[in-house]
Structures are given as structure tokens and as C-alpha cells.
Amino acid sequence: MISVFLTLIDNKNHEERLFEKLYLSYRSVMYSVAFAILQDESDAEDAVHDTFLSIAARQMPLLSRIEDEADRQSYILKATRNTALNMLRKGVRQLPADDIYEREQFDASKSPDDGFINYICMKHDYKQVVEAIRRLDKKYSDVLYYHFVLGFTAMEVAKIQDKNVNTIKKQLVRGKKLLLEELGSLNNVYDR
């Protein structure tokens, strides 16, 4: 019981220190990301602040699981970019949360993770894959990144992006499908 108690205290202290470290390390580059999208100093600062609010409210346990500093930076900057984009959308027009692709029904069982990675690794080389990922819409490459690199579940990604878990599941399936399309092998995979 004592160890549980001490672990709880230790985790909270660790998260508190990490939060301060994130703020001191990334606030400037977060601002740059936000400003590139919003083109307004005040709005960009708001985006940085909102991102930290969101991180403090919901994302610290997830963030504290990321050990690689580069991944942590990518995570933070993606979060900032998404916040800025949401602000831009709200300011310009109220876009529906999901696009036409997300309303389609997909069968996730057709592209299980292991088979998906094995297939890509078998048929394509590193440069091709990098190029295909670059061509993907950000929302799909983001979901693939969160899922495959950071190891987050659809539920956790939904928490980060403040979206419905089913939307994330569909984005994940759609992202895999689009990546295969970009790699020019979609038909081969789904005809099997």
C-alpha cells in the first residue's frame, strides 16, 4: 500500500516536472508552428496556451510514456498544429469533424497491423515508404504515427485529438488503405 502511495506521488511529481520542461523547451517552436498556420501573433500565443491547457487536462499520462525526446517533440508540435488548425476552422467556417472518407464503412480486419507492416516491408523500400507517407493527408499520417510509433490505442489517440474513438479507428483503417494506395499496391492487397 505504501509503495502504491509513493508511486502515485512520484508519478505526479514526474508529470509536474515534465510539464514545466515541455513549456520551457517547446513554447517557442510551438509558437512558430501555430504562427505559420494562423499568421497572427496573438492567435498563435492562444494556440500555444490552449495546447498546454489540453496537455495539462488530458494528455500528461500519455506524454510521460514517451521516452524519446524527438517523439516527444513531434507529439507536442502535432498537438499545437491541430489546435491551430481547429482555431482556424472555427474562425473561418465550422467544418464537420470528419470528412467524407470517415463516414465510409471499412473493414478493419482486412488490414491487421502485422500483416500490414509485413506486406509493406516485403514489397517496398524505405524511400518509397517515406515518400508515400509524405503524400498522405496529415490526419492519416498522424494517426499512423500515434499508433505505430508511439504505440497508442485508438482510444488514446481519440483522447489526444478530442475525437470519437470510432472516428480514429476509421482514420487508422483509411490511413493504412491510403498508404497502400500511395504505394501502388492497394488492389493486390485487397484482392487477396
Binding site: 505504501i2 502515485l8 509536474e16 517557442s28 512558430s32 513531434s74 509493406i120 524505405y126 499520417s141 504515427y145
Partner: protein
């Protein structure tokens, strides 16, 4: 295979990183000076986070943990010093004298040796009755278990206090006793 699964992960990672390369360069070349309003808001948020940490530490979970810790300590205390807690033992009778030999028949009772008087207690240890002998420790004033006594098979009681054998025969379950001198 043209590439490994690890390289696939690396590809995702590198594309994720390169997206923000320009922003990082921009930030290095033209560092932004944040407005005082932003600094103030972030200071408030950081302070709130610190307070939140302490709120969580002092939250219900923590209080429950602390309560259980206290309970565990009390329970330990009860087991070590049973005379201090009436609920842990029932007084059954007093052996008025010491003796040369003794036999304990009742395994559901224990002898308590205190100030020359052997007292019999029924005690529940870990949900099963067991014979235990306690002596009064003059140094601490607390009752403590006599390590030399095997009451289970009715051997002589060793009085830890006076370093002499206190022996008594106890024949009845509820308290009548035969003392053998």
C-alpha cells in the same frame, strides 16, 4: 524483404519530424518574445498544475491509503501487544499461584503471566485459537509474548520476567483451574 518493420517505424518518425523542420529553423532565427499576457496565463497554468499535483496527493485515494496504513499499524500493534486491546482476547480466569509442574489441556486458551499471577486469556490469532503466553515486560511496561513457552502441548510455562518456571494445571475450558504446587 526490402525493409524491416523497424525501418517502417523510422519512416513514420522521420516524416513526422520533418514536418516541423521549418518551424524549428524559424524559431531559432527569429525567437519570439511572448507577450506579458501569455506569460501571465502560463504562470497561472503552471501554478495550477503544481497545486493540482498536491491536490491529487491529498486526494481521496491518498487519504484511503493513509487510513489503511494507520489501520495496518494499529493491527500490528494489537498483535504485538494484545493486552492493550480488549477485542483481541477474552479474559477467562486467573491462576492464583505458581507451581512446580503444569499441564495445559485447553488449546483454545493462553496463559498470561503478570506480576506473579498467571492469567488465562482466550485469544484469536489469524482466525484460529492458539495458546500464547505473555509476560509483563518491566522495562517497557508492555505485555510481550514469552518466547520460551510452548503452551500447545502443556509444557511448563517459563516466566521470562523472573527467569523461573511458573507452572499451573488448567483443566477447565471456562476458567476453573487446578494449581499444583
Amino acid at each position: 524483404m526490402s525493409m524491416t518493420g523497424r525501418e517502417f517505424i523510422l519512416a513514420l518518425r522521420s516524416v513526422a519530424a520533418e514536418e516541423f523542420t521549418d518551424a524549428i529553423k524559424e524559431c531559432e532565427h527569429n525567437p519570439h518574445e511572448f507577450s506579458s499576457e501569455f506569460i501571465l496565463r502560463m504562470d497561472t497554468l503552471l501554478r495550477r498544475e503544481r497545486r493540482l499535483s498536491w491536490r491529487i496527493i491529498n486526494s481521496i485515494t491518498s487519504n484511503v491509503a493513509a487510513a489503511l496504513l494507520i489501520l495496518a499499524l494499529l493491527l500490528t500493534n494489537t498483535l504485538v501487544y494484545p493486552s492493550g486491546n480488549a477485542a483481541s482476547s477474552d479474559f477467562e480466569g486467573t491462576l492464583e499461584d505458581v507451581c512446580a509442574s503444569a499441564q495445559i489441556h485447553d488449546t483454545a486458551h493462553a496463559f498470561i503471566v503478570k506480576q506473579g499471577v498467571a492469567s488465562l486469556y482466550k485469544e484469536d490469532r489469524a482466525s484460529s485459537f492458539k495458546n500464547v503466553v505473555y509476560v509483563n515486560d518491566e522495562n517497557t511496561g508492555f505485555m510481550r509474548e514469552c518466547p520460551y513457552m510452548d503452551a500447545e502441548y502443556g509444557e511448563c510455562i517459563y516466566n521470562c520476567h523472573s527467569e523461573s518456571y511458573l507452572c499451573a494445571e488448567y483443566s477447565e475450558y471456562t476458567g476453573s483451574q487446578n494449581i499444583t504446587h
